[in-house]
Amino acid sequence: MNATGSAAPMLPDGLVIVVKRECETCRMTAPVLEELRRGPLPVTIYTQDDPSFPAGLSPIHDHDLAISWHHDIETVPTVIRVDNGHEVARTVGWSRAEWENVTGITGLGTELPVMRPGCGSMSVDPDLVDALRVRFGGSALAARRVEVAAAEDEFEAMFDRGWTDGLPVIPPTEARVMRMLTGTSRAPDDVVAVVPPDLVEVTVEKIAINAVMAGCKPEYLPWVIAAVEAVCNDTFNIHGVLATTMPVGPVIVCSGPGTRAIGMNSGMNVFGQGNRANLTIGRAVQLVVRNIGGGRPGEVDRATHGNPGKISFCFAEDDAHSPWTSLAESRGAAKGSDALTVFPGEGPRCVVDQLARDPESLCNTFAACLRTLHNPKSILAFDAILVVGPEHARVFAEAGWNREKVVEEITARLQIPGSELVRGANGIAEGIPAHLKDAVLPKFRPGGLLLVYAGGGAGLFSAIIGGWANGDVGSQPVTKEVTR
C-alpha cells in the first residue's frame, strides 16, 4: 500500500506502541504501558486521536497519521519491537502471551483478560484512507495536474476538454486515482503498451486515470490493463479497428473465476445495461484509446456507422456452467485462470430457433444465419463469435457435442458452391471473381468461428457478433491472462 511516495519515518529503537483513545482495548491496556515504561527497553507511544492519551505517559501525537500509514498499522493497539532501526517483532490487539513474547517481559497485565481483539487503526478508516493515500503516495503520480475553478462545473469542464466518449465521466482526482491503483500490484510508472494511433506509451497510472473516469472499481483495473495490452499490438491491430469505415470496436470476452469475483454479468441481459463491471471495463479501454492514443471519431476513426458497442462492449462468459471449455482455455489460457479475449466486432444480432431439439437442426439454423454475415456472398474475410445461450447449449450438451464438434458441424454446413458466390449471382453485383464459380468455399477461415457460452437461462436464442478484416492483413483475436 505504501510502496511508493514519501519516505517512511524511522521508528525509534525499543518498544513502539500505537494506540487511540476511542479504542476500548487501548484504554484497557494503558496500565500495561506503564508497566512497560518501568522495564529495560525505551518505550515510545504514538496516539492517533487524543494527544493526551494515555495520560501521564507523554505520548507522541501521530497527528497526520504518518507513522501509522507508513508502518502499516491496521489495528490498535499495535506493539512493535525495533532493534537498530528495524522492526523485529509485532503484535496487535491484546494478548498477554504475545505482548510478553514481543516485549520480553513476563507477568504483564495480570489483572486483564488473557486476550481481547483491538480496534481498527485510523490510518485504515475508510473515511480517511483516500486522503492519506494522496498525502503520502500522491507524489508518485506523474500526470499533469489540471485545476478546475470553483465556479466551473467539473463535468462540463471534462466535456469541454474532449476527454469523454459523449457520456459524463467521473472526475479523476488524485484520491480516486490512488484508490484505483490499489487494484494492481504494478507500479504507476510501469509502461503497459504503446497506444495507436498516436503510438504513445501508456503507463499503469494513465490507465488508472481513464478507469476512474469510466467508473471502474479498483478490482476491475487488472482487467482493463490486460485488455489494453491485448488490443495494442500488431496482432489485434487496434489502429485498423479504430480507423476502419466498418462498424467495429474491441469486443472483450472475459473468462475465469475472477469474472465472478468482480461481479461481471455472464447471464441475463449479458450484452445490455445494468452491470457496472461489464460496462466500465470496456469503456475504460475505449477511453484509453481516445485519450492516450488520440483515436477520436471523425479524426482517425472513420467509421461509416459505428455501433453503440464502441462506447463499451465487454462481457463475461458463463464458464462456471458452460458445457464446454472456456473460450480463453480453447485459445491456450491455463485452465481455471482469469483471462480475456479481444475480438474486433460489430453489434450482436439475435438467432431465434424455438423448435430445435436436436443438434443437427440447431446447427442448420446457426449456419443459415451465419451465412448472411456482412453479405451472404462474403466468404473467408471475416471471423465471428457465436454466443450460444443456455437453452441452445443444452441441446448440444445433451447430445454430448463438445466445442470442437459444434464448430465442425457448423463449418461443414458453410461450404458454399462458388456458383452462388460469384459476382452477379442471385442478382447481386457483390461477389467473388467469376473464375471461382466451380470451387467450393468456406464461409469462415479455420479458427474463424469462436464459440462462447453466455446469456440468461430462459430463451431459445443465441447471438452472432460479426468481425472485421481478419488475418495478418487486419485483426486477429488475442487472448491474454489477467494478473493483479
Binding site: 499533469r144 489540471v146 482526482t173 480507423a243
Partner: protein
Amino acid sequence: MTTLLDPTNERRVSTMERVGRPESLRGLTVGLLDISKARGDVFLDRLEERLSELGADVRRFKKPTFTKPAPVDLRHEIATQCQVVIEALAD
C-alpha cells in the same frame, strides 16, 4: 477548486513546415503509394500514365495492408527517393 489528473497523453505536437508546392512536376520524382485496397492499382496505373506525360519520374510503392500504417522502412524509402508523394485512400 478541484484538481484533476490529465487523462491524455500530454503530447506536445511538433509542427513541421510543409515543403513548398513545386511549379512543375517535370523532372521530379513522384511516389505513388498503393495502400493495398482492392482496385487501387487501377486508379494508380492511370495516375502514373498522366504524371509520366507531365514529365515526372514516377515510382510505385505499396503498403503490405491497408489496415496498418506504412512500415517505417517504407516511409523512409519514399522520403529519400521522392520529392513529391501521392497517397490515396480508396473506399
